[in-house]
């Protein structure tokens, strides 16, 4: 191993350069070698490849555990802070604004209002799809105003989706539910 060099002593005896500092003129060569996708595909530059082994089992704990149990039973559960009175979803065991523990559970409805939405033509890894996915934030009926969750809309003409649209959850069959957010298949408009 290289012998460690003597301790770097701070040299604060800086040169006084009150000349005009270097400006970046048009000839300045910035560093950085750009490659094309082809350079990589055809092996014009050397690369190493890695697929990570990164698996987890996240403990659901009290709040999310009960939320998922509720979904399995076909219910959307929320919590209520009796200090500020907010009814919240997804549930948590603390009120982030009052900073106090809460465990007043409330059953919410499985209907709601579209707060915002998108018509998405690409998958998570940028593959194009023909029929758009319609992610939305849905404010859940029974919770305080503005309390929404992210989910998907379906059984609707994409052109007709609008903010303020009333929707209802479409559940998986009871025996197929597993205690997951996907126990709700999607939300559809209420006629």
């Amino acid at each position: 191993m290289p012998k460690k060099k003597s301790k770097v002593k701070k040299q604060k005896s800086l040169k006084v350069t009150v000349t005009n500092p270097k400006t970046i003129n048009s000839n300045f060569q910035f560093q950085g070698v750009g490659l094309s996708d082809d350079d990589l595909k055809k092996g014009k530059v050397l690369t190493t490849h890695w697929i990570g082994d990164t698996k987890y089992a996240w403990d659901q704990g009290v709040a999310i555990g009960k939320y998922l149990d509720g979904l399995k039973a076909g219910k959307i559960l929320g919590v209520e802070c009796h200090k500020c009175g907010r009814k919240m979803v997804p549930p948590r065991i603390f009120c982030e604004w009052c900073f106090k523990p809460i465990d007043n559970w409330v059953e919410l409805l499985d209907t709601g209002t579209v707060n915002t939405f998108s018509l998405c033509y690409v998958t998570w890894d940028m593959q194009r799809v023909k029929k758009p996915l319609i992610p939305a934030v849905i404010e859940i009926d029974g919770a305080s105003k503005g309390m929404g969750i992210m989910h998907l809309l379906s059984e609707v003409d994409p052109k007709k989706v609008h903010i303020g649209m009333k929707v209802k959850a479409v559940w998986k069959l009871e025996k197929e539910r597993e205690g997951a957010i996907t126990d709700i298949l999607y939300w559809k408009p209420i006629k």
Partner: protein
């Protein structure tokens, strides 16, 4: 207590399973390109030298990590050197015990200030000792692909 509500039944304690899908393709960089091309094409080891700090980096860096000089001069070092340390690894990347433990060495090639990490082969645990001479065994030229695995392992030599 911090939490008002607690789980009290073992059956209530559940987990959600998932992963972080990570697949990466890393370019080996400017210095890496020189280093691996030299092994791949010529079977030689290159380093960069910082004249100011008198350090030869193998594998090379385009900068001296100590004084931050730009290093552009590549010099060849030997493919043999001394074993600075070694270990016998019994656990695999999956956390399971390996059937065949792997010998790994810290090798300082002659002419280099730094060490290369690689496997040790053609040797036994009795034979290995710190300070012994080892040499690189490369893959046959046509099988080399420009990676650290173009070196198969280092083996002890009697010089």
């Amino acid at each position: 207590m911090a939490l008002k509500e607690r789980l009290t039944k073992k059956s209530e304690a559940k987990a959600w399973y998932g992963d972080m899908p990570v697949e990466s393709l890393y370019t080996v960089g400017i210095a890496g390109e020189k280093f691996f091309r030299a092994i791949k094409d010529d079977g030689i080891f290159l380093g960069t030298k910082c004249k100011k700090c008198n350090i030869v980096y193998v594998p090379p860096k385009i900068y001296c990590e100590r004084c931050f000089e730009k290093l552009e001069e590549y010099i060849e070092v030997a493919d043999c050197g001394s074993l600075e340390s070694f270990t016998c690894v019994h656990i695999g990347l999956d956390g399971k015990r390996l059937e065949n433990p792997i010998f790994v060495g810290l090798i300082r090639l002659d002419g280099s200030s730094t060490c290369i990490i690689h496997k040790l082969g053609e040797t036994t645990v009795e034979e290995l000792c710190i300070g012994m001479r080892v040499c690189a065994v490369l893959k046959p030229k046509k099988e080399r692909e420009g990676s650290i695995n173009d070196i198969l392992y280092f083996k002890p030599t009697k010089e």
